[in-house]
């Protein structure tokens, strides 16, 4: 049966962010790469990410953010996942995830400290994430 042995990703654009184009590209790319994708679209709250991941028994939540408020929008997501029993779920975040031009190494550190497994700067090729998924899911 389809969906059984595939890796399930929940994807969406978090917060009050309405940037829909990148989300559609990710949906297309990940589906084509053989993942089972649950796409929540734009303006997705933390709760919606968590609830979808529970119902879908997802392996990964992939959060997009384009409008610069990614840091505050993502804060607390790991704790919500723990609370919902999604103990080892992978959390990836990418896009224009902070305001202005900041040193990305610093930014990445802050996201990792929030319990995010991977954080990506603007312009990251989706293939990078696919490569990381293969590594992280093996662990």
């Amino acid at each position: 049966m389809e969906g059984q042995d595939k890796v399930t990703l929940v994807i969406g654009v978090i917060g009050a962010d309405v940037h829909a184009v990148g989300n559609k590209i990710l949906n297309y790319t990940f589906t084509k790469a053989g993942f089972n994708v649950v796409n929540l679209g734009v303006m997705v709250s933390q709760t919606e990410f968590v609830e979808a991941a529970v119902e879908a028994d997802a392996d990964v939540i992939m959060v997009s953010s384009l409008y610069g408020h990614g840091e505050i929008d993502v804060k607390g997501l790991r704790e919500k996942c723990d609370e919902a029993g999604l103990n080892n779920i992978l959390l990836y975040v990418g896009g224009n995830i902070v305001v202005g031009k900041q040193n990305f190494e610093e930014v990445e550190k802050r996201f990792l400290a929030m319990g995010i497994n991977r954080a990506y700067p603007p312009g990251t090729d989706p293939q990078t994430a696919i490569k990381h998924l293969a590594e992280d899911l093996k662990k």
Binding site: V18, S45, E55, A56, D57, Y67
Partner: protein, 460 residues
């Protein structure tokens, strides 16, 4: 002359209506106490005698019936996440005409197990997980339900990869099991029709006889269906129309009874310009049933809800308490004669019942300010453009001022974000014909539709 005898076996009364289908008219009414504890045919024959005394000699052509007697079709539903599969299972059970007593989410606890035994449901609807998603909770809950005391059917409508295993577990516990398609096979998409059909079939084939209706079932020309399902079908017909007869378009209906308040909306509910839908997109035909909102058996529960909202302050609290007691000891009481001084209180209760059950049925819109400007997010159905509200049920149709009660169903600036109808016409089902017309529609939809359009009157 071709006559249909349409019977509604209610918890208190067996209500009967005779329709002349050649003329397309209701020609007689009758009612008698429901005698389901002893022999249901007794009350049925009394009601039929009432019809015969009005019509004289006649040869009825067809007998049809629906029932909500002996507690109605009691269903307990369960799912995983409250706003997702648990909500989907509740919608499925309600659309089949069930009295959804309780909806559970996540893993069932021992306490909830005892609660289910106490509810003594006819059906437990078990769902959870989208296809290919979580199946742990379905299997775990199957284990719990298998151990739960009670003689009920279980419908499994969850993650299909876990369905057969869940069935085995349940059958191991001696439960009778039906497996259905998932109520939410992919994320956010409802699939409630297969479950609706399964519940209907269970009712017809098993529950009717378990409730002591088999004797009268044999006297009918078609199967007995749950009363709310007949009402649901009448509402759908009234909205959509049928061949040769146009419907009214988008509408809502309120059936306020002694134990529950049933709300129906027949409308797509899609957002007006530009709002995003968050959560699941609800179906065109939606029914909700509120077990804690009713005018007699559930009046105390309703009173508690009203107190939370700070209502009923205009009345003498002693009178309110008296009326609560009177209704409790005598659920058939009407605020007339010696009780006429309670009429205002009773009407106010009815208005609150409509207001509170409307709030649980309609969708909500939220305004969000974003860096790119103002956006709107909608949850549930946008019913602001619905053109008709139909009021049914004794407490509404017998009230001195039904319009005041039913107006609580329309949009109010007091509750800005609730997407209630903005300028609806209010119609009154003063003959309480909805259920009977749902029955008649199974053979003659055009005639049922015409009768509804003629007999439902607009109140100014």
């Amino acid at each position: 002359m071709s006559i249909y005898i349409l019977t509604d076996f209610g918890s208190t009364y067996t209500k009967m209506m005779a329709v002349d289908v050649d003329k397309g008219e209701i020609i007689a009414f009758s009612k008698s106490f429901t005698t389901i504890e002893t022999d249901v045919t007794e009350g049925y024959n009394n009601a039929l005698a009432g019809i015969k005394s009005q019509l004289g000699d006649f040869v009825p052509a067809v007998f049809l019936a629906c029932s909500s007697a002996a507690g109605g079709l009691k269903i307990v539903s369960s799912g995983l996440v409250p706003d997702l599969t648990a909500k989907a299972s509740r919608l499925a059970a309600a659309s089949a005409g069930g009295k959804v007593v309780k909806t559970y989410s996540y893993e069932l606890t021992e306490f909830e197990m005892e609660e289910i035994t106490a509810i003594n449901p006819d059906i437990v609807l078990l769902s959870g997980g989208i296809d290919g998603g979580n199946k742990k909770v379905l299997l775990q809950n199957a284990e719990t339900i298998a151990k739960t005391e009670g003689d009920f059917f279980v419908i499994v409508a969850g993650n299909r990869s876990g369905a057969m295993e869940a069935r085995k577990i349940l059958e191991g516990g001696g439960k009778r099991v039906i497996v259905c398609e998932n109520v939410m096979p992919t994320f956010g998409k409802l699939n409630i029709d297969p479950t609706k059909v399964a519940i209907r079939d269970l009712f017809i084939e098993n529950i009717v006889s378990a409730k002591g209706l088999d004797k009268v079932a044999g006297m009918m020309d078609m199967e007995i269906i749950p009363t709310p399902l007949a009402v649901y079908e009448a509402c759908e017909l009234l909205s959509k129309g049928c061949e040769g007869e146009k419907g009214l378009g988008e509408l809502m209906a309120y059936d306020l009874g002694g134990a529950t308040c049933d709300v129906y909306s027949m409308a797509d509910g899609l957002p007006k310009s530009g709002a995003f839908i968050s959560g699941i997109q609800e179906p065109f035909a939606k029914r909700t049933v509120e077990g804690d909102i009713g005018m007699r058996y559930s009046l105390h529960a309703l009173y508690d809800l009203i107190c939370e909202e700070g209502g009923l302050g205009d009345f003498d609290q002693g009178d309110v308490a008296d009326w609560l007691d009177i209704c409790k000891s005598n659920p058939d009481v009407l605020p007339q004669g010696e009780y006429s001084k309670y009429a205002q209180i009773d009407s106010s209760f009815a208005g609150w019942a409509i207001r509170l059950s409307a709030a649980r049925h309609v969708g909500y819109v939220e305004r969000i300010f974003t860096p790119s400007g103002e956006v709107f997010s909608q949850e549930g159905k946008d019913l602001t453009r619905v053109e008709y509200i139909i009021g049914s049920g004794g407490a509404v149709i017998n009230a001195p001022d039904p319009k005041m009660i039913l107006q609580e169903a329309s949009y109010s600036p007091r509750d800005l974000n609730a997407l209630k109808p903005q300028n609806p016409k209010i119609l009154l089902d003063k003959e309480n014909a909805l259920a009977a017309m749902g029955l008649l529609a199974r053979r003659h939809p055009d005639i049922a539709l015409r009768i509804m359009k003629n007999s439902f009157t607009e109140i100014e």
